[in-house]
């Protein structure tokens, strides 16, 4: 991850550049591929066993889209990734993740400082809430995304370095995902199970944690 570290070093000073975002999606795709079967197994328990395949397909398509139309700016990278996820994934997670990244891209100022990133990220998370008519505690990806967003905002307020901020966000996402286990689902497919959704980690929260882990990794 030496190259990523360098990108981030640059990023800390003059903002995160396009390469940083490409690396983020690259690494998220790599981790999703590695964890594909775990995500599918989580979805099998309280859903329909396709979340691993959906996201794996999605990030593969994002990589291809980047290869065909190399984004020239962070905004382009995010909008292209979001659009690709919307256009290629389907299911619930396709439009939700896709809209999150698109919205994040659209709200992104330049240069991308941590403050800019955090604000854009929050705006992306809001898009998921709006579209999914869901909130933290409903046992969805939001249970990872909302705490992650909160950590980023706090890091900006506390003037913490980006690298450290991303670490904290990843940790918060991971904890948020694990915190879905005792919850009863109120949105998405798992809500059909009622009480029987209790005791299982939400697949979308788990994938959100993976995506945040990739962010921390490319920044490290």
């Amino acid at each position: 991850m030496g190259g990523m570290g360098e990108l981030m070093d640059r990023g800390t000073g003059e903002g995160m550049d396009t390469a940083f975002f490409l690396a983020w999606f690259e690494d998220a795709g790599r981790l999703v591929r590695l964890q594909r079967d775990r995500l599918t197994a989580l979805d099998a328990a309280i859903g329909d066993a396709d979340h691993g395949a959906n996201l794996d397909r999605g990030f593969t398509e994002v990589r291809q889209a980047f290869a065909e139309w190399p984004p020239a700016t962070p905004v382009q990278a995010l909008v292209s990734a979001g659009t690709t996820l919307i256009r290629r994934v389907g299911g619930a997670s396709g439009p939700l993740y896709g809209s999150a990244f698109r919205q994040m891209g659209k709200s992104m100022d330049s240069p991308v400082t941590l403050a800019v990133f955090a604000a854009a990220f929050e705006s992306g998370v809001r898009a998921v809430e709006r579209l999914g008519k869901a909130a933290q505690g409903d046992k969805t990806m939001l249970d990872a995304l909302v705490p992650a967003s909160r950590e980023l905002t706090r890091a900006v307020q506390e003037e913490i370095a980006a690298r450290e901020a991303f670490e904290r966000a990843a940790r918060a996402a991971e904890e948020g995902s694990r915190a879905t286990i005792p919850l009863r689902a109120r949105r998405g497919r798992a809500s059909y199970l009622g009480e029987r959704s209790v005791g299982h980690e939400d697949p979308g929260a788990a994938s959100a944690a993976i995506i945040m882990a990739a962010l921390a990794a490319v920044a490290s």
Binding site: T40, G47, A49, I86, R87, G94, R189, S191
Partner: protein, 326 residues
């Protein structure tokens, strides 16, 4: 996993190739299945779609008197907006397009996104949500769309074929959904090609009550009992939500791996349950219509008919999955 496939990745594409080869009355292009004669000028067009693995739904219901196009997603994954957009634009004959959407987060979101992009085409939608196993409350994604989809597509399709305007077709489609209720019971799980193993484990002496059509586990697990008792469980759930009354259209639907003989055994019990409540089965379907890959089990869907709906049900239909009158 034992399946007649080439690869898990290519299964939807391969099956669509087979569909196209078997049915000259259909055209398949970019993951959309069209009536070969679309667009029909002046006719309201119907577009539906959803995850694959539910065959014959939806692609098998494309044709005269039913859908103008279907958008199959990956297995158990709703289609993407591009497919829906392509389909909607291609089949619009100037009278507008009805989107028939099963009530799943993914289906609803993707159809919504497509509808927003359909500038220039008048689009209406009906959300199908007939599954009484799911409580419709603030605390769920709402009832799932299952068997009633076939009824909505057939009846709204017949009305569109008669030349009714979009608002009327949409109104009747919603009416059919409102009059329909379903309940499903699984004897086995299903195995999604990409997952490679059963979605859930079910001991040899238990069944899942209130299952959907995506291998989601149901609301409860009980011992395997007789067809009579299982039919009664399903029918009580339906009757408790929408009392059985008058003339009924009843579908006993197989989940994909249920032998037809068993479905007829269930139908006999369902029909006698209906009679016991003082209602009558005046129209029926018994077979595989909305499946869940290789799941064993059944669902029952009941729709309260009136004379108009009966007439529309009886109207000619010519699709791979449903055909009469031509």
């Amino acid at each position: 996993m034992k399946k007649l496939i080439n690869t898990a990745e290519s299964v939807v594409e391969d099956a669509l190739n087979g569909l196209a080869a078997a049915h000259p009355s259909l055209r398949v292009r970019d993951r959309v299945v069209y009536r070969a004669d679309a667009p029909r000028p002046g006719k309201v067009a119907l577009v539906s779609g959803g995850g694959s693995g539910h065959e014959p739904l939806h692609a098998g219901f494309v044709g005269h008197g039913m859908l103008d196009a279907a958008c199959p997603g990956d297995v158990f994954t709703s289609p993407v907006p591009d497919q829906i957009l392509d389909a909607t634009r291609a089949v619009d004959g100037g009278a507008g397009v009805l989107h028939v959407v099963k009530n799943y987060t993914g289906d609803v979101l993707n159809f919504e996104m497509a509808a927003e992009l359909c500038a220039g085409v008048e689009v209406a939608k009906v959300i199908v949500d007939d599954d009484v196993a799911v409580q419709d409350s603030l605390y769920t994604a709402g009832r799932r769309g299952t068997g009633a989809t076939v009824f909505v597509e057939k009846i709204a399709g017949a009305l569109a074929e008669e030349g009714a305007p979009l608002a009327e077709v949409a109104r009747v489609a919603a009416d059919v959904d409102g009059r329909s209720r379903s309940f499903g019971i699984a004897l086995t799980s299903c195995t999604s090609p990409a997952a490679g193993k059963p979605t859930f484990d079910l001991p040899g002496d238990e069944v899942e009550l209130g299952i959907g059509i995506h291998g989601e586990p149901g609301r409860a697990r009980v011992p395997l009992v007789s067809a009579r008792e299982l039919a009664a469980i399903a029918m009580e759930a339906i009757h408790g939500d929408l009392p059985l009354r008058g003339d009924l259209l009843v579908m006993v639907n197989g989940m994909g791996s249920t032998p037809l003989m068993e479905l007829y055994v269930v139908f006999a019990e369902v029909e006698s349950f209906v009679r016991g409540k003082g209602a009558r089965v005046t129209r029926s379907l018994v077979g595989n219509y909305v499946t869940s890959l290789d799941m064993q089990g059944f669902s029952v869907t009941v729709c309260r008919l009136d004379d108009d709906l009966t007439r529309l049900w009886d109207a000619p239909v010519e699709t791979p999955g449903l055909r009469w009158g031509r």
